[in-house]
């Protein structure tokens, strides 16, 4: 069945360093991918998305990479700041589907 998961449940990086959060998915029909940031006690906040016809997309300090061959998605955050500390979720939607399927999340901690 469909499954979206994460390689690492926790990640600690030094402030100012770059971080990479990884996500694996198993649905070959996945067409659309979104990364969300969730701070404690808040709802998921949209960060960046990517369609399956792309392999890279950049935002402000964030880059999402998609490797369809190995069904792998990553989120790169440049020059991390204390405010980047949160749980990050990847989610996917299949072509023709109507719902997002979420992974379990990775907790990112920025050390001063």
């Amino acid at each position: 069945g469909e499954n979206v998961g994460l390689h690492l449940p926790t990640l600690s990086v030094q402030e100012g360093d770059n971080s990479i959060i990884n996500c694996a998915y198993s649905n070959s029909a996945s067409d659309y991918f979104i990364w969300y940031k969730q701070e404690s006690g808040k709802g998921p906040q949209f960060i960046i998305d990517i369609r399956s016809n792309m392999d890279k997309r950049q935002g402000q300090r964030v880059t999402v990479l998609l490797n369809k061959t190995v069904k792998h998605l990553s989120l790169q955050i440049a020059a991390t700041q204390p405010g980047d500390s949160a749980v990050y979720f990847c989610a996917e939607m299949g072509y023709g589907a109507q719902k997002l399927v979420f992974g379990q999340g990775t907790r990112l901690t920025i050390n001063p």
Binding site: G43, F89, Q98, K99
Partner: protein, 115 residues
């Protein structure tokens, strides 16, 4: 409104009571979603609305759970005869239209505690 609005933000209820959770999507968004998130877990899909219709309610965990949407706007998630296992954050989200490629925005959630 500017974003997805949910109420109440927190609800404590006794086991066996019914609860209603409300969601106001972003104005003009025709697609609306409900998800459940247990403590420390990922998001579980509950139900999807396109307009006032629910083409996908496959995630509702039991017949104690129901949801409706009126006026292609406000949605209410109702949990009858609540049980302790229902304790979770209930998240509502909306997008302009349903389907792949349409950004889905979430509210802050309604935290439900059943005692």
């Amino acid at each position: 409104g500017a974003g997805v609005s949910q109420s109440p933000s927190n609800k404590v209820t006794e086991k066996g009571k019914d609860v209603e959770l409300r969601c106001d999507p972003i104005s003009g968004h025709t697609a609306l979603y409900w998800y459940r998130q247990r403590l420390g877990q990922g998001l579980e899909f509950l139900i999807y609305f396109q307009g006032n219709s629910a083409p996908d309610k496959s995630g509702l965990p039991s017949d104690r759970f129901s949801a409706e949407r009126t006026g292609e706007s406000v949605s209410t998630l109702t949990i009858q005869r609540t049980q302790q296992e229902d304790s979770a954050v209930y998240l509502c989200a909306s997008s302009l239209v349903g389907g792949s490629g349409n950004t889905i925005y979430f509210g802050e959630g309604s935290w439900l505690t059943v005692v």
